[in-house]
Symmetry: C2
Subunit: 421 residues, 2 copies
């Protein structure tokens, strides 16, 4: 039986060593992990094949299997991504702010690792590698709990990672820095969420229900997110050619992800012109529509358009479906978004600067876009390098979580004998 | 009956308005609050007198009553502190980082209010004012739950604050921005901890048990802290004159607070010289000592020194008691701290730079001090202006929480029609 308490203790101990590791030591470890995954590729793919066979036996959809579980065409990409992490700047040790006080004390906020990061994730086995490597790069130990559908793949990947650290044999980057929960028993998830003695932060990656479960049960700080009901508002002065392309991109480029558009809000002054053009462009990719009465009055006769149901504007579609609503203007758009958004990603398309400014100020989402696609709410798309998750909560990290989001800081105060008066 | 759901909705609504408030509007509100507290001082002190009388009737200690509950000599200080908040720079709207990507997108992390901040605090009524004003200055609404011992004082203070906003009548700083739970029923604390629909962050201020209760029951991110088992390590090269004064300051200046020293660790090479001198200085202020065997062997004969009991090195004294331990050197000091600390504040006193560096790197506390007193772990002492709490957790804010800790950020991405390839 897997002993999570023991794993927690080992991870905490390893985190103490990792806090002392130099950037060069951490990068050596990251590169050794890439090499080990490369060297173990056959064994990893064999384990993956067992997971795929079991999934097919259970009758899971071939799309799901190919899109999420199957590593066969992904290994070179996974290995290349690990090597890229070695090239990213190390945030640990950098000074966030510093000052010398009138009494001569020098006070600095210095970036440090967080300690032990718990990751709870679902079906993609490459997350095992991402999380272990990004945590390591930032001097953190990790405790990983992957989805049961790819259990054998995860065991093989975690084994390669720990094996690489074993062989490398650096005292400050011990193999115990990466703990993988070798069990599919769901009880470990609950135990993990309450292991505040050893785990400093929990990052769930998966659907909204996983995030909610974590929020309900954790005694450890949790970074939640995972749900994006995403709005695009087309203002009366929007460049409609651009607006059609942005709506097309945000809806169709990758409909199953959280920054894909769910609802199109259109200013009444341009709705009659814009909606048919947008529908013509998007329908070619198979999009269908749920329209509220005013939108339905304009485009109800077009193929694929149906009346919106009661909860359609509170649904994250994850599919080629788009809500349509005509609004009187910016005020109604903002009110609709505040009432229906999950505050992940929203966009305004407008040439009116004052409206753009108001939208940016009044929409309280993790990322707000002006005249561009919500699909850019992503670590690599925003130039941050690798991301470990996208947060929709407001504490610690919001939006794409890159390396810095895996660090905290300590106050370092240097004196020459000062005492407090 | 107080309706917490209604209060939550009102606070959320008010937070939307506050997010649009200018710095000037927020400062006007802060100054109006100071004026109102000044104008209502008699009524506030009358309410306070009722609380004091009830406390005396219940037989609570006079020290507690004078130190925590009694506002009579504190009003001018409270009012002056509010006025100072108006002078602090407003962090909202500042840009944390920005960049222009190769595709022309401009991406910035812009500081914003958090939204609605829930505060759960104990006996000091001035916390009502601090929290309401610091939240307001950073554009946040607040829901305040104060301790029952000073309930009438809190009601009077909250009334003055809301009255000031009512009279000021600024649409972006509505009175609903400050919600005070007008009930001493403890059930509201639990309800508040699960009100994640309306509250974005909970800050408890009080003892360790309050923090633990919040961590256990909250579905909202909580900033925990409140417990400081604080260590000072006197290295073999410490300036012993300074070390005596720093130990004296850290232990005796304000023994009931969380950054006061609890344990003195002394290098064996200087223990025989240092311990008797430190004891001579501290005993004059009434300090007594709990010594482990090696320390006891050196100073066991001195007045006030007794053998340490089993849990004495795991106790936050909050009193004029100090643990004494002789260690072989830095390694043993670090090991002791890692085993017994609550990671709030720790100090090393040394002239050996390499030892100072190791201590700063390897001690994982919110604040680490070199050659100065742990009493400086405090917002105003570190030049941050007012503080709302001291965090010992690692996410969002660590150490003294000043205005910035009451903000989050949003990503603002400005394009010219870009779509994701």
């Amino acid at each position: 039986m897997f002993d999570l308490i023991a794993a927690g203790k080992q991870a905490k101990q390893a985190a103490r060593a990792l806090a002392k590791a130099t950037t060069e030591e951490k990068n050596r470890a990251v590169l050794a992990i890439a090499d080990a995954i490369e060297a173990c590729a056959d064994a990893i793919l064999e384990a993956n094949a067992r997971d795929l066979a079991a999934a097919r036996e259970r009758g899971l959809s071939e799309t799901l299997i190919k899109d999420r579980f199957d590593l066969s065409r992904r290994m070179p990409g996974i290995i290349a991504d690990v090597r890229k992490v070695a090239e990213l700047p190390d945030p640990v040790g950098t000074v966030i702010s510093e000052s010398t006080l009138p009494n001569g004390l020098h006070a600095a906020k210095r970036r440090t690792p967080i300690g032990v990061i718990g990751m709870i994730y679902e079906a993609r086995p490459n997350v095992t590698v991402d999380c272990a490597v990004l945590a390591l790069k930032t001097g953190n130990a990790s405790i990983l709990r992957g989805g049961s559908e790819v259990f054998h793949s995860n065991v093989a990947l975690a084994g390669a990672i720990r094996g690489a650290l074993q062989t490398l044999n650096l005292p400050n980057v011990p193999p115990d820095a990466v703990q993988f929960i070798e069990s599919t028993d769901r009880a470990y998830v609950e135990q993990m969420l309450r292991l505040n003695e050893y785990i400093d932060m929990i990052i769930p990656r998966g659907g909204a229900s996983l995030h909610q479960f974590c929020r309900e049960h954790a005694t450890i700080p949790v970074i939640t997110g995972g749900l994006g009901i995403v709005h695009i508002y087309v203002d009366d002065t929007a460049n409609l050619d651009q607006a059609v392309e942005i709506a097309f991109n945000a809806k169709t480029q990758r409909p199953s992800v959280c920054n894909a558009a769910d609802t199109l809000l259109v200013h009444e002054a341009v709705a009659a012109e814009f909606l048919p053009r947008a529908i013509e462009r998007l329908s070619a990719s198979g999009v269908t529509y749920r329209a509220e009465p005013r939108a339905l009055a304009l485009v109800g006769g077009l193929a694929g358009v149906q009346a919106a149901g009661e909860n359609d504007f509170d649904t994250e579609w994850m599919a080629l479906i788009l809500g349509l609503k005509v609004v009187n203007g910016l005020d109604e758009a903002i009110a609709h978004i505040n009432a229906h958004s999950t505050f992940h990603s929203e966009a305004i398309l407008t040439q009116t600067q004052a409206n753009a400014d108001r939208f940016v100020l009044e929409i309280d989402s993790a990322a707000v876009f002006v005249n561009t696609s919500t699909r850019f709410n992503d670590g690599s798309a925003l130039g941050l390098g690798a991301e470990i998750a996208v947060s929709t909560q407001k504490l610690h990290a919001r939006g794409p979580m890159a390396l810095e989001a895996l660090t905290t800081y300590k106050w370092v105060v240097i004196g020459q004998g000062q005492v407090r008066p």
